[in-house]
Amino acid sequence: MDVKDIFSYNWSYLLPELIILGFATALSLLDLAMGKRTNRAVLAWLALAGVLLSGIFVVVNMVTLNAPYSYMADMLRVDGYGNAFKLLFLSGVAFTLILSVCYMKQGEITHQGEYYYLLLTALLGAMVMASSADLITLFVGLELLSLSSYVLVGLRKKSLNANESSFKYVVSGGIATAFTLFGMSYMYGLGGTTNLYLLADRLSEAYAGGYAFLVLLAFAFVVIGLSFKISAVPNHMWAPDVYQGAPTPITAFLAVVSKTAGFAMVFRLLFGAFIGLASPAGGSVLMENLSPYISVIAAASMIIGNTMALRQTNVKRMMAYSGIAQAGYILVPFATLTSLFFEQSVFYLFAYLLASFGAFAVLMLVFRDQQSEELKSFAGLYHRSPLVAVAMTIFLLSMAGIPVTAGFIGKFYLFVSAILQHHYWLSAVMIATSVISYYYYFGIIRQMYMRPGATEAPLPLPKGVAFVIVLTALATFVVGIVPGAVFDFVQAHFNPSFDFGGMTSSSK
């Protein structure tokens, strides 16, 4: 490639990423220039401005680009698939920033500048993971997200829990990275290229040419490694400890943005590279031979997540196990693979984003007020602040999958596709574990409405957090009533040709 070629690309389609990079750099310099005692809240608002600006350019790309646009042999590509996930990441980080401003007032985090720009670099990593079709850039994006979040988890330097949880996160993350990289090295070895579309062809050649075992080994390594980011079985053990030790806005970030980024990469990598494998009989190996394993991972995540959540008294740990179960649900469309796969996943992730951020906003308020993360701190919440209690009820109902919420519709779509593809045992596990999950979700609701609290004083409700709670509650409710609007929007703007959001069609 010539230097001239680099300038021949239209770089304006990459503005969302470049803006985040620019703001992260500017924030790190500003942080150096600011005095030690200056209030860093202004950095949060600057970061939020950057995130919103970047969101605007994602929308511009959505409107102006009709076909995927590829940079440097798909090292980065702008397509419907990436745009949909980028919007999810950006709204997630916007919520995280608003919650962080409130959280900072507790004064536990002394390095606030680092907190804000690491959040932006983590976002950048997530965006690269969603919009790359090359092993090298995917890996670098994954690590940019991981390294930033390791530090974010441990930013409460004086807290023993935070130190411990971030160290556990680094160690389990490092092992998972090694697994992913080892799997990628086999993929590269069999294909001789890091481009996913070329790999898809060459892996299917290798599969037919007597290297089937190595291809499957690569698949297994990559799945094991990436199950860490989505906190699914077998790499789920870190989640409860890390969620408990991290600052609450960061817990929400890990539960939603980091997990969504993991899914973006799982889908892109596994579809991109392994969709072409054909068995001797002519059927698709991914759909016939590999999807049962994905189903097992999904079912195991649902069962372990939901049953372990039952015995937690710490609400953050409970949310971690609930998150493991949710990861299992989001793997269902991947295991069943209908032509609506992309819409189903994005819809479920959207519903999950709304409910999780709302719930973590409430969690943060209650923990701050009660100085405790136990289930009992929710006692009597309805009498202290009816608005917050009702909103929390909507979030919990959505996560549990009860009608008139976005979560119900999301689960319903997954359930229908599992039935239609004759995955009966998987749908049975879905139903059974959902019923189990009612028990612990309703445990919080019981505390809020039926248990007397230690105090009747109204719960203080800062404006930013109130905004997040009201917005997410309304959206959860409205999307639950008119899900078709969101579904149509995803179909119209991200996925015109049923090719998994422009993911499987190379632009060449």
Binding site: I136, V151, V171, S185, R202
Partner: protein, 104 residues
């Protein structure tokens, strides 16, 4: 003259990976655990470089990938050690067994 074949490289990498995994899962000293993770990452690097020369479609890309993964591994261990130092300041231990304040 006997030349080294691809399987020898892959075998070394696989052994290194397994040794690293064993160390990461069983060792009590946190620094050794971080070292073991480095072993696992470097095992993947050996694979990449070997495949770049002897792979099915030998190409230079593997060596480029190695450059990236080495950088990332260095950053990872730097972050890991920084967090370990913060932990050591509060707890005065690097023993993994004693990091159990959140057990349930």
């Amino acid at each position: 003259m006997m030349t080294l074949q691809l399987p020898s490289f892959l075998l070394v990498a696989l052994i290194l990976f397994s040794v690293g995994l064993y160390g990461a899962l069983t060792k009590r000293n946190a620094v050794i655990v971080l070292l073991s993770i480095e072993l696992m990452l470097n095992a993947a690097n050996i694979n990449l470089v070997a495949f770049a020369k002897y792979g099915l479609h030998a190409a230079i890309t593997g060596q480029i990938f190695t450059l990236f993964s080495m950088t990332v591994a260095a950053a990872e261990v730097a972050v890991g050690l920084a967090i370990l130092i913060a932990l050591y300041r509060n707890r005065a231990t690097v023993n993994i067994d004693e990091m159990d304040t959140m057990k349930h």
